[in-house]
Every structure is written in C-alpha cells, then in structure tokens.
C-alpha cells in the first residue's frame, strides 16, 4: 500500500486533472419520456401536470407532480430537497396497494423533482362539489359505502405498515375513472414503528384544521394513528352532508411561531359531539391544552340529529360515524375495526367500483392546455379554476425543516 502511494506521488497527468466532474445531469429527461397534455393544479409544493408516455408500450395517463425549487431572484439554485418531498419519494417508492396512489417513477432533472403518478380523474373534493352545485343532491349510498370502504382499506394498509398519513382530507383522496379510491399526498406521512422522539417535535402542526383530531387540538405530543381515523370520520360526514362537518376558523400562528389553541375548531366539534368529559375520555386531563376547555359551555351530543338533518337514514352508518368521531383516541375505531363494521358487512355487497350502479356523470378534471410547459418555473397566481380550490381551505403551515 505505502509503496503504491509513493509511486503515485508524482503530479497526476494533465489529461486526468483537466477533467473535473461535470455537474449532475439526469439520465432520464422528463420531456423525452412524457408528452405533457396540460396543467392540472398548483399548490405550495409546486405544480401538477397531466401527461402521456411517449413510450409506445406504456399506455394510460399520468399525473406528474413537479416540486418547485426555491428561487433566489431569477436564478434557480439547488437548495436541498424539502422534507415533505423526501417523505413522499421514500414512502411512495416503498408502498404498493390498490388504494394508495401508485408512483410510476421519479425523475430528478434540472434542479427539479418530477414524481410521475398514475392519473386519477376525480377526487373527493370535486365529487362533493359536483353534488352540492348548483343544487344539493345526495351522493348515492352505494357510492359512499364503496368510497369509505376503499379509503379505510388504504388507511388500514398504511397503518399495518406503521405509516401515519397525517393529512387526510377530501382533496387528497383520488378516485379513478373506474371508481377506485387512491390515497394521495404522503408529504406529511411518517413511519411510527416506535413512538419516536416526541412526534410533536417534528411538524408542529399536522392535518388541515377541519379534519384535525381533538387530541391534536389539545396539544397531544404522542398522538397515534387514530388521528387518521378521525379525519376519515370527518370525510364520511362530508360525503353525507356535502359540506365539512366541523368548519372552524383557523387561529393563525403568532410571530413567535407558537401554535395557538384552535378554540373555534374545538367549538364546532363540541356543538355537534357534546363537551368531552373525563368519564368519556379519561386521559383528556393530561393533555397540555386541557385547561383551555373550562370556558366552553356544556353541550350534549347531537350527532344523531345532525345525521338525520343532512338526510342520512342508515342506522349502521350513524353507528360507524360515531365510532370514528370518538373523542378518546383509545376508544376510536381502528381502520381494521371500521372495515369489519356492520355498515359494510350488512346490506348489499360493497363494490370496488365506487360508481357502480350510479348514473351520475362526474366532470373530468380540468386540464388547461394553454399551460403545458412543464419546464418553466411556476407562474404565480395560477389556480385550479371551476372548483373550490385547495388553497382556499385553511391550509396548515408545514414546517419546512429540510431546507
């Protein structure tokens, strides 16, 4: 070894030293492989485009999610990949289930990340919107049962693999043209095989406020996968009512970035579910924000009345809903228990096509073809039109720690 080093101690030949490394270039070019049909939507992460493969053997359509890099002036620089993009890349590469959106490939090109997903024509936000505009028409029960069962099936798979989604909401639940439900956006998801260093320390705020579980509102630091089931309960309620069940107003973070107590959101929950008591939820007294509960005036649970008012009739559906919207996370139904609920096992067999037997024509996802240049950096102010935009919902602030 020493000998070898000694021999080589001459200056390396000019030919070799004159070949410093070229910058990173992708082996695969997104435009070589895909034809961009048009622009679908934009969010805080970047933009989504609809695309077709240029490869003759690859059929079907794709949704390409482009993560925008941070810009310093006009020049785009490498700044480090955000933690949510990292999570989404890693988890989507690892997971494979019929009710979780399938990741086709990832292309890292020109300082941008392109995640190529299977395309889904609909999402629950759009379906709910279609049933509430221009006039209110209930979603057929067979569709709701199928959507909910498939959603729970996907959540159950995630939880069996110790993945918490942490951001379930109608906009993140896709439905394909053939009625298959696909859980998307794993940007906030994380593995919880052991209660890691207080989950609280990572992302201070998880779950869009309307779907946020009471234990999170009360500042629980060691929350569990049960938070996803609360969100499923809220989504179930929204499919029935065609509007969010707990539509609170978000209290913004103050300048010190302390997370405020979401009083209004808690108020909305209590108005329907009643005031949580120590008897109903024994561990509530140990939660950090419990003292905030004292000023609330006592309410009794009126969920059953709410259920009738929105036009739902299935008694078993009410039972399932109240099992999901259970205050105490320990008593709340797990995904597996919910799947075995009589709401699904009794009555007509659940179809794996949410649209089976339904004659409702849902509008296709709007794709704007005048903006199909995936290579240009995102233009400000371009929002999904014709639909209630995601960004109009109170959006939780994601702590961008990876940058």
């Amino acid at each position: 070894m020493e000998d070898q080093i000694a021999k080589a101690s001459y200056t390396p030949s000019a030919a070799v030293s004159a070949m410093p490394l070229p910058p990173y270039t992708s082996k695969v070019k997104v435009l070589d492989k895909y034809h961009i049909i048009g622009f679908i939507s934009s969010g805080t992460y970047g933009r989504v485009y609809k695309a077709r493969s240029r490869h003759p053997g690859t059929t079907g359509e794709f949704a390409i999610k482009k993560f925008k890099p941070d810009k310093e002036g006009e020049v785009i620089n490498y700044t480090g990949i955000s933690q949510s993009a990292c999570r989404e890349m890693a988890l989507n590469s690892e997971l494979a289930h019929e009710n979780v959106i399938h990741l086709h490939e990832i292309i890292l090109e020109d300082k941008c990340i392109y995640m190529v997903f299977e395309y889904a024509e609909h999402d629950l936000l759009q379906i709910v919107h279609h049933h509430s505009h221009p006039e209110r028409r209930l979603i057929p029960e067979s569709t709701i049962r199928s959507i909910l069962w498939q959603l729970l099936n996907g959540v159950s798979y995630l939880h069996q693999n110790w993945v918490m989604h942490r951001d379930l909401k109608p906009a993140n639940i896709m439905v394909t043209a053939s009625g298959e439900v696909k859980i998307g956006d794993l940007g906030l998801a994380r593995v919880f095989w052991k209660p890691l260093a207080a989950l609280f320390n990572g992302d201070k705020v998880v779950v869009t406020i309307w779907y946020r579980a009471p234990e999170l509102l009360l500042g629980s630091r060691h929350y569990t996968a049960a938070i996803d089931l609360w969100a499923v309960g809220c989504i179930f309620a929204e499919l029935l009512a065609l509007r969010p069940i707990f539509k609170g107003e978000e209290a913004k973070m103050d300048s010190k970035k302390t997370v405020p107590f979401q009083r209004n959101q808690m108020q909305k929950i209590i108005e329907i579910l009643g005031t949580p008591t120590k008897e109903r939820w024994p561990s509530i007294t140990q939660l950090p924000e419990y003292p905030q509960m004292t000023p609330f005036k006592p309410y009794i649970c009126s969920l059953e009345t709410w259920y009738q008012q929105v036009g739902a009739t299935n008694k078993l559906g009410y039972e399932l809903l109240s099992g999901l919207l259970e205050f105490d996370p320990v008593k709340r139904l797990t995904a597996q228990q919910a799947l075995e609920h009589r709401y699904f096992t009794e009555g007509p067999k659940i179809s794996l096509n949410a649209f089976e037997g339904s004659f409702i024509e849902y509008p296709h996802r709007r794709v704007s073809s005048d903006d199909n240049d995936i290579r240009t950096s995102s233009l400000p102010g371009t929002k999904r039109s014709g639909l209630p935009d995601d960004s109009l919902q109170p959006r939780t602030k994601r702590v961008k720690a990876g940058e």
């Binding site: 070894m1 030293s17 990173y24 494979a96």
Partner: protein
Amino acid sequence: MAANFWTSTQRAHWQLTREKIADMRRGLDEEDTNKGLGLAFPLPDHKQLQLYFHHCLQRLARRLQLRQQPLATAETYLKRFYLKVSIRDTNPYLMLSTCVYLACKMEECPQHIRSVVNEARALFQEFIPQDIAKLAECEFHLISELNSYLIVHHPYRTLMEVQGPFALKLSPDEIMAAWSFLNDSYITDLILLYPPHTIAFTAIFLAVFVRPAIHTQANLNASGSTALGMSTAAGAGGSIVQPSVGQNAAVPATSGINPQNPSSARLSQMSEWFAESGVEMEAIIECTQEMISLYDAWETWTDKVCRESVARLIRGRQLS
C-alpha cells in the same frame, strides 16, 4: 413497505450477494483504469476506505449530535452509492456529508443544510465547498443513484425487540456490547448482504459468546452510563453516537473481540434460544467471520494513507 422488511425495497433491490458486490466494485475499478484515473489517483483498498469513511461519518455525526439510527442510514446510503459510482468520480467528503444530510431528513431529525455544511467544513476544511448548492446538487446525484429507495431497515430495532416478548434476558453489559457490535457492522458490507435481524442475532451471539476484551478493562466506568443512556434513548431511535468495540480497542495489541467464558447454564440457555428463534446459524457464522476480519484489519489501520490519497484525489480532480 415502510415497516416490513420482507416487502421492502431494501430486500428487493439492496440485498446483494458477495459475488454481486465484488462484480460491481471490479466493474468500477476497471472503468477507472481505462480512464487512467486508477493510476493517477491510487486509493487504498475498500476495507481501508470503509474504515476511513466510517470514522469521518462518525465524527460528523458527533458534531451534529446525531443518534445512531440516522448515522446508520447515512452509512448505508454511502455504501450503496459507492457500488454504483466510482469514488474517484466524487468528492468523498461532500458525498458523505450529503448522506448525513439526507439521512437526517429520512430519520425525522432534519438538520439545516447550512449547519451540515458548516460542521463538515469544520472537519474537512477546504474540501467542502462553502456554497450549499454544491451539497444540494450532490443530494440529487445520491437520490438518483439510490433509485429513491431511501427507507433503510436497521438491526438496532431487532436488538431492542428481542429483549421484550422473546424474553431473551440480556444483561445491560451484553446489550451494550451487542449495540457496539452493531455500530461496527456498518464498516463492513453486512447491511448490503443480510436481513437486519440476522445482523442483530450476530451481534447478540458475539456479545454473549465472544465479548469484547476491552469491556472488562478500560471501559468499565463508561459502560454503566452508556448502557443506561441506551435504554432510555432506545425508544427515540437509538442512542447518541457511541464509541464502538473497535475503537475501544485503542488499548495496544488487543483484538476487538476475545472469547468469553460465560457460565455453562448461560451457554445452554442461549443455545436453546438461538435454536428456537429459527435463525440460520450458517448466516450468523458468516457474519461473525466478516466482523472478525474487520477487527483484524482495524488493528493495523491508520487514517493517514486514506486521508492523503483522498486529498490528492479531490485536489487533482478539482472536486471541491
């Protein structure tokens, strides 16, 4: 899947055979020779370099006060990456810092890119570019070569689990020794070759049957506190980076491991447990041999040759 090794990308794509690994390394070496890089920039053999990179990673992890799990993930990334890309085509210091940066995000203990660059510069000086964009660019290269398979299953988890339901009664000393063997296993190719539980069982086997000699000597005082630290930190994804068996063997002329004389009752209890657990003893013996050959190499290893040849490489190819 995320928490199931059997359906993981690690098992499907990153569990290789010895022959495959040797082939991949030979392929990279041949390419370097053809390009004239091999002759211009000679490097110590990969065992020496693995020891060197391990030490570099460990020093960086300590500066950032990382726990064992993100460090282990970073070590795994670096190993996988250097099976696909020649060391001579990279700035190894920048590369290993990038592995730490990405591993921290994946293990949910993110570090700001600026602090990773700053701490790396404190260790590797001018070899780390001040511009964070360089490390961020390197991250793209890393993820691309890893095919975005970023979730790594580690043996630490098995070690923590067998103490519970399996009722394998390991003493605190044995747990600490096993833990140290696991830390050292990342210098070898074991994480590329075997499922994590096989590596964990090897560490337990070594801890019980061939305990580190040093453990009874210089490190007795330290062991109490680290073992304690480990049990409390275990739930939080592993303890703060600890010294390893090999490093403890700083006492001259001591090999990392020496045969122990556990009581015969203990021996039969352990043998029974190994038999019942259904692990392949053959694999454990192979892993043990790998570890022994590591400690052999370690005894004569110094970082000087590696440091100098890496410096010559980075300067010569203007990689910093």
